[in-house]
């Protein structure tokens, strides 16, 4: 099973990197969205899945990355050079938010993060240097979609690799302990706040990088687009639907979601029912298979395997 998923992952990575060679622009755009979704889902999963701290405020980090890139580019900086700055800013912000918010446990933390997202969006639309609610445009310059695409693809692959490394490391073990029983983890000497802050900062930085690349590709950002609650929402839904706390789950969830979104957007009648679909998906997953699609696949696969051995 593990070897199988590794092979699937590597071939997916190779396909994504080589896609510009044989895919036309329209399809490539869809793969770009997929890579974007994979980054967001896998990064969120580091805190939300591995450590079990479900945050609904991740659009804040995306927005920080996007705004940093646009503002610095307007000052004359190369957009790609601004990427690390946005990531560092997002990480700092995540720690500032996390210090009070991680005093809360479970659902209380989640609700507080809704507040973070709201507050950031309100601030971004009210202050002047962000261009207010009308948003900001990137300075006119060379626009190279293939380069933007490759950057997003590389980041997506790196994110999945980083997530896999984190899961296997001592760091990941500590996060898993926090998820299972935070009091027991504390009793064993795990400084839960420090590990949660670390996971938060890492995932925030990755999401900010994706936000920067988003801004570079779309050339225009506004609080209504990058700080949208719907964005925070889909960031959470993808890993949960795919299989929370795993490596392949968020990728699977992102795959399902971006296909769904592309298909939904092309049908005018269904365009306005995405909330219904997201909501129903969430209800169904929570009631019937909290481990998501991956959990379902595993169950089916295991049953097949068991039957196979029983027959043999």
């Amino acid at each position: 099973m593990r070897r199988l998923s590794l092979a699937a992952g590597v071939s997916l990575a190779v396909f994504t990197l080589a896609a510009p060679l044989f895919l036309e622009r329209g399809t490539l755009n869809d793969v770009w969205s997929l890579a974007f979704a994979v980054i967001l889902a896998s990064a969120w999963n580091i805190l939300g899945g591995f450590a079990g701290q479900v945050s609904l405020g991740y659009s804040a980090f995306l927005g920080i990355g996007a705004y940093t890139t646009v503002l610095l580019s307007l000052k004359g900086m190369d957009p790609f050079l601004s990427l690390p700055i946005g990531a560092v800013l997002a990480a700092i912000f995540s720690v500032a938010i996390g210090l009070p918010a991680f005093r809360l446990r479970g659902p209380y933390f989640t609700i507080a993060t809704i507040g973070v997202g709201e507050a950031v969006r309100v601030c971004a639309s009210s202050v002047s240097f962000t261009g207010g609610s009308s948003g900001l445009r990137m300075p006119a310059g060379s626009f190279d979609f293939t380069r933007n695409y490759e950057a997003m693809a590389v980041l997506a692959i790196l994110t999945v690799v980083v997530a896999a490394l984190v899961k296997r490391s001592a760091f990941g073990q500590a996060l898993a302990a926090i998820k299972q029983d935070i009091d027991a983890a504390e009793a064993l000497g795990v400084n839960s706040t420090r590990f949660k802050l670390g996971a938060h900062a890492l995932s925030a930085a990755i999401v900010a990088l994706a936000g920067s690349l988003y801004a570079i590709n779309f050339q225009y950002i506004a609080p209504g687009s990058v700080f949208d609650f719907r964005l925070s929402l889909s960031i959470v839904l993808m890993p949960i639907v795919g299989g929370v706390g795993t490596i392949a789950g968020p990728v699977l969830g992102a795959l399902v979601f971006s296909t769904l979104q592309i298909k939904l957007l092309s049908i005018p009648a269904l365009r306005d029912s995405y909330l219904f679909i997201y909501g129903t998906l969430l209800i169904v997953v929570m009631l019937f298979e909290p481990k998501g699609i991956l959990g379902l696949l595993r169950r089916v696969f295991n049953r097949r395997l068991r039957r196979f051995y029983a027959d043999a």
Binding site: L275, G279, M286
Partner: protein
């Protein structure tokens, strides 16, 4: 510059409404250890139900609360029986599954509202919407006064139910200790259904009252959910007086800041959120914890 009486009167009026919103959340939390994220969606639906009764049948928004309340109670019971009951039961702290499940319910409700009432901003305009009267020398809008009366009535109703009926006793028993209540012969499942219905009814009534004060869209309710949550964190989840005190503190801060500072109104919603964070950092036990600490400090 507004005088202190104005801020106080307005604070008491909004506090009553805030307490109504927060109680709905608190009853459900108490009995089931679930944080009802769908509360926001239910408030929004309450606003639209009132709106529809007003535009279709010309029913006064405050009279329609008598329809909305029971209707939402039934809706809550059905929601509990169909969906919420199937969840694995939360332990001492609410489970993540319940939170996400009810989040899903909220999304479905939102989409339902978009489908029926579209995304246009709606508001209810009655003959008295723009009228105001003087209370203690302060001009107060007539709808606000009605909202105050409606909130006080619903809070009194809830307290009478909780204090004098068997049902109320059972709800309090399950809140205190579910297993002990079960041993004493309380049908905890039915009580949970009733509690969920009550919480939903309170959300609907609060939403109906909000609709007379604010314009609303299907996205309505998120900032009020945050306010209700802030009140509960401030006042403690289980104490009735705590919720009232938390509501007063939040309402006073909001009104005071808008009267005495030049804070733009778009930041008004951020008050509850900032208060939430300050509470968590400075006194995570909420107001009861703060008072306990003050008492020991000044002894």
């Amino acid at each position: 510059m507004q005088d202190i009486a104005g801020v106080l009167v307005n604070s008491v009026i909004s506090a009553a409404l805030y307490a109504t919103m927060a109680y709905g959340l608190a009853v459900i939390y108490g009995v089931m250890r679930i944080i009802n994220l769908a509360h926001a969606g239910l408030m929004m639906l309450g606003a639209y139900a009132t709106f529809s009764l007003f535009t279709r049948f010309g029913l006064d928004p405050f009279l329609s609360l008598l329809v909305v309340g029971p209707l939402f109670f039934l809706f809550g019971v059905v929601l509990y029986r169909l969906v919420v009951r199937r969840l694995p039961r939360s332990g001492a702290t609410p489970s993540m599954e319940s939170l996400l499940l009810l989040f899903g319910v909220w999304l479905v409700l939102q989409n339902f509202a978009y489908f029926i009432w579209t995304g246009d901003t709606q508001s209810i305009l009655t003959a008295y919407t723009m009228k105001s009267v003087a209370v203690l020398g302060v001009r107060v809008g007539v709808p606000s006064l009605f909202v105050f009366a409606g909130s006080v009535l619903s809070l009194v109703f809830l307290n009478v139910v909780l204090k004098t009926t068997y049902l109320g006793k059972a709800i309090r028993a399950v809140t205190q200790n579910r297993d002990a209540a079960l041993l004493a012969g309380v049908d905890a499942d039915s009580i949970s259904a009733v509690a969920f219905g009550l919480g939903t009814a309170f959300a609907g009534v609060a939403g109906g009252m909000l609709s007379t004060l604010y314009a609303f869209t299907p996205d309505f309710g998120r900032s009020f959910l945050l306010k209700a949550f802030c009140i509960i964190v401030l006042g403690g989840m289980e104490s009735v007086t705590g919720v009232a005190a938390g509501a007063l503190v939040l309402a006073f801060l909001e009104n005071g800041l808008s009267a005495w500072t030049t804070l733009p109104t778009s930041f008004q919603d951020a008050v509850s959120f900032t208060l939430l964070f300050v509470t968590l950092v400075a006194f995570p036990q909420g107001l009861p914890g703060l008072f306990a600490r003050l008492r020991t400090a000044f002894r």
